[in-house]
């Protein structure tokens, strides 16, 4: 994370945002909307909106929260207009081809990853979103609260219950896998 600079311009801010958060934002919005094209458009709009922001205010850790908040709000707005429901049972990532499908990847790791992801998709959407923001995109409780509009304690509760439920769901599956 780069440190604030007094001479940072909006263009610098956009360049930094694209370099550090483009993929994160696209993946997050894609998981939210299940629409790759919409996700890309939302992220593009978000970066273009960044040009109109005060660089002094967002130069620092606030940039990440701002990008996630603005893109999330825009995505939810578009989804509301389209009356489109998100299917959490069928993750949008299932339709993508892994750009680096390692043939050398250990089969056990792949099985474990697939099991975790499959179990993760059985979580309620609000729990899954905060868990994704925390463990996939590395946002803090406070940043997740800023992005989602929840309180930090509410975010902590959702993460606590989500992890607990994940452990509960994974335990029998892992036991069955180990028996095989």
């Amino acid at each position: 994370m780069s440190s604030p600079s007094p001479s940072t311009t909006a263009a610098d801010l956009v360049r930094r945002g694209v370099a550090e958060y483009e993929s994160m934002l696209c993946g997050y919005i894609y998981n939210l909307t299940s629409d790759l094209e919409m996700a890309r458009d939302v992220v593009q709009e978000t970066f273009i909106k960044l040009y109109a922001q005060d660089p002094a205010r967002l130069d620092g850790p606030g940039l990440k929260s701002w990008l996630f908040t603005v893109s999330r709000n825009r995505a939810l707005d578009l989804m509301r207009r389209r009356r489109r429901s998100v299917s959490w049972e069928d993750s949008p990532m299932d339709h993508l081809v892994d750009p680096a499908p390692g043939p050398d990847r250990q089969a056990a790791d792949a099985d474990e990853t697939a099991l975790v992801l499959q179990t993760f998709r059985r979580l309620p959407p609000n729990q899954a979103e905060v868990l994704r923001l925390k463990f996939q995109h590395g946002l803090s409780y406070q940043e997740i609260a800023d992005v989602t509009g929840l309180t930090a304690s509410n975010v902590g509760f959702l993460i606590h219950t989500g992890l607990k439920r994940l452990r509960t769901l994974l335990a029998p599956e892992a036991a069955a896998c180990s028996m095989i």
């Binding site: 894609y30 593009q44 993508l96 975790v116 994704r132 996939q136 509760f157």
Partner: protein
């Protein structure tokens, strides 16, 4: 820290989401409570598994034109397609409906309203005048050019030039007519005919015979006074 492993603050402490003071209390609790390290390890393991699994999801990025549009907005050529799609479909549908209605009103015989060129069409619908003699069943109708229009162009001065105004005619007064009497067939005709003195006494052979008790002509026309 008084939280138990069932509290969300315990998970927050494991994930490092507590203040320095609470973090110190949590570490002290790990040393004091034998069940806490096992519970903390389970939370850490689940979080690690989940993070590793989520990070293996395929990367999604902007397209190259989108990224160029973001980084160089001054030469942005790819507008956001999502916004375009949002308004494009309703606009196209509306335009299509409007075009269909317009074509139906203009081309199709017996369009909405049921009358053409009549004065009793539905309010709000445009009335369309039908050219007399136009073929009823063909969609094309002859167009009578408007006056002053040639090939759709309006002439600058469509009407022929009017004749120059005549000189004003002086009024004829009796005095002016007497001074310059009109000429008819080469003869000057007096404007005011003179009385014929011969006819002043009346036409010949038509003398008035005074009847009994009536005045004689010389008495009635003469200057002598009637007898008293």
């Amino acid at each position: 820290m008084t939280a138990t492993p069932d509290d969300s603050s315990f998970t927050a402490a494991v994930l490092g989401e507590v203040s320095a003071c609470d973090g110190a209390a949590f570490r002290a609790g790990l040393a004091e409570n034998p069940a806490w390290p096992q519970e903390a390890a389970a939370i850490s393991r689940t979080a690690g598994l989940l993070g590793a699994a989520l990070r293996q999801e395929p990367l999604v990025c902007l397209t190259i034109p989108q990224r160029q549009a973001v980084l160089h907005p001054e030469r942005r050529t790819v507008p956001p397609a999502a916004g375009r799609r949002v308004w494009l479909a309703p606009t196209l549908v509306t335009a299509g409906i409007a075009a269909a209605v317009a074509v139906g009103l203009i081309v199709l015989p017996g369009g909405p309203g049921g009358t053409r060129g009549g004065g009793d069409s539905s309010p709000g619908l445009p009335s369309i005048a039908v050219q007399p003699g136009a073929p009823e069943k063909s969609g094309l109708r002859p167009v009578t050019p408007l006056p002053g229009m040639v090939n759709g162009l309006r002439l600058e001065n469509p009407l022929p030039q009017a004749a120059p105004p005549l000189a004003p005619v002086p009024l004829k007064t009796p005095e002016s007519m007497a001074a310059s009497p009109p000429v008819v067939n080469g003869l000057s005709v007096p404007a005011v005919p003179k009385l014929n003195p011969a006819k002043a006494d009346g036409p010949p052979g038509k003398s008035v015979r005074p009847g009994p008790g009536k005045l004689r002509p010389e008495e009635s026309l003469g200057g002598s006074a009637p007898p008293k």
